[in-house]
Amino acid sequence: MSGTGDPDARRRPDLAVRLGGLSLPNPILTASGTFGYGLEFAHLAALDRLGGIVTKGLSLQPLKGNPPPRIGEPRGGMLNSIGLQNIGIEKFLAEVLPGLGRFPAQVVVNLFGYEFDDYARLAERVDASAGVAAVELNVSCPNVTKGGIEFGHDPVLLERLVRSVRNVTAKPIAVKLSPNVTSPVAIGEAAKAGGADILSAINTVLGMAIDPWTRRPRLHTTRGGLSGPAIKPIAVRIVYDVAKKVGLPVIGIGGVETVDDVIEFLLAGASAVQVGTALFRNPRTAENLVDGLAARLVEMKVERVSDLVGGVLPWREG
């Protein structure tokens, strides 16, 4: 241990966090679908400074995705309907994962299936890969008719689904929650009952936009997922509710761009955050947040980032 009285020791706050069995060097991850498979950013961002990388959602077979237009830009955010286009789990494991091994960032593999059994088959396939730190189950993509969305909206089905994955992998399981349900807490509790270790909240908010001149929806699929700063208050509310009531570690997602945003999610009860759409605006957003968070903790005289988790102060008791 470093000697007492080392003035520098106080200048380096402890950013490491632990969520169930998932240990991260810092609480800043990149969100699924916004960082490709990681390597797309290797020349634009310092991957070695991130806490973790969550891959684009992977399925058993490659998927070609939805027809264009796939994105729109309502004020303060982004509306997308990519349709889970991906290279498939086999190609990812063979060609991408080895390249990610040289970075300390933990690799979380986002998985989605069309059929109930797809999730366990995917998790089984990933279980043997030492380079995978955890799996994140996408049961809440709004952009494909059968993209697991029914699993994420039905607590009974979800509990069974998570259990089927639990049975085939010892890796930490995160379940990504949809905001498009009446009670995210009920869904989170079902995930916990099935054996989930972590809750990721939230996926995109179902939305729609129309071009006033052409009269057509901005997206070919009409509806899509809203992300970016516009959805942050929705995400903070759900993180707060889920963290308080379910009792699993939570990863906050939704409009994270500034250090204030990170602190807000931590205070609401998140143990870590994922940066998403902001990476498209600035590919260095995540690594800048790692530095900015460290500086802020010094300013706040907080030694460990984990000390902030759930630290929101109530206006009154009860």
Binding site: E40, M78, P283
Partner: protein
């Protein structure tokens, strides 16, 4: 070259007849390697509208004492391009680039001794602000000693931004500029495909390079096929990131696959795209 994300300095905003302008930026020396058809992603606002950067074609590039200078030819179409038009000299804007697959060769080179080289000119076809990437292409063709005609179509005279620069470079290559407007306020009245069609029928061109509205490029692809002339088109789609991460800029190909406009394009062979 790998794209660079840089804080570029605004040199000036050159007004053309509204709604067109040129944004001139100083940045790193590496920009001078920008190829015709490539684009940059430019942050337009510090705020929330638009939240994402805008993809803009590089119109021109030159070296400076300490780096390189790019010119972006822009049409005001929404909040992003409007915000950029209000930039002042000395302002900083985040610019990522150069990005994307550039225009290919003019072709016509003899592949074996028995077939003579095709030395016919090439046609550059611009619809409105689609002219943006074609100046740099013209410069390249000039360097290669390739003669080209420049077809410039617009709704009215204002849509023919930088007309004199395009005229000068086409004539320097030994070709001519043919302007058309739908309202007849400049050049010939009508669509740019009319004079192009006459010359294609006469067998004047060996290749067509184009950029403009999707409807125009679709028609050009048909004309390329009808006359057996190769074509390349630079496409414009909504783009989230510009470097292949968001998968938002899908372009459907004839084989049914989705290509990404930002990485696989923006330049595509015209017979490759499902228009």
């Amino acid at each position: 070259m790998q794209p660079i994300d840089t804080s570029a300095r605004v040199v000036e905003v050159v007004q053309h007849p509204l709604p067109y302008y040129s944004l001139v930026l100083d940045g790193p020396e590496a920009w001078s390697a920008t190829l015709p058809g490539q684009f940059v992603m430019v942050e337009c606002s510090d705020g929330l509208e638009p939240y994402l950067r805008r993809a803009l074609s590089v119109h021109d590039v030159s070296k400076t004492d300490r780096g390189a200078r790019i010119e972006l030819l822009v049409k005001i179409v929404g909040p992003g391009t409007r915000a950029l038009a209000a930039k002042r000299p000395g302002d900083r804007v985040a610019v990522l680039g150069p990005l994307g697959r550039p225009f290919g060769p003019a072709g016509g080179v003899a592949s074996d001794g028995d077939v003579p080289a095709d030395t016919r000119p090439v046609a550059l076809v611009a619809g409105g602000v689609g002219s943006a990437p074609l100046l740099l292409l013209g410069r390249r063709l000039l360097d290669e000693g390739v003669c080209f005609d420049f077809f410039y179509g617009g709704r009215g005279a204002v849509d023919l931004a930088r007309l004199q620069a395009f005229t000068a470079i086409a004539e320097a290559s030994g070709g001519t500029l043919i302007a058309t407007t739908e309202d007849g306020s400049a050049g010939q009245r009508g669509l740019v495909t009319a004079p192009l069609g006459e010359r294609l029928a006469a067998g004047r061109y060996r290749k067509i390079f184009s950029c403009g509205p999707m409807g125009l490029m679709k028609r050009l692809a048909e004309m390329s096929a009808e006359h057996g002339v190769a074509g390349e088109a630079a496409l414009e789609t909504p783009m989230g990131c510009g470097f292949g991460a968001c998968l938002g800029c899908a372009v459907e190909l004839m084989d049914g696959r989705f290509a990404l406009c930002c990485k696989d394009g923006p330049v595509f062979a015209s017979d490759e795209v499902k228009w």
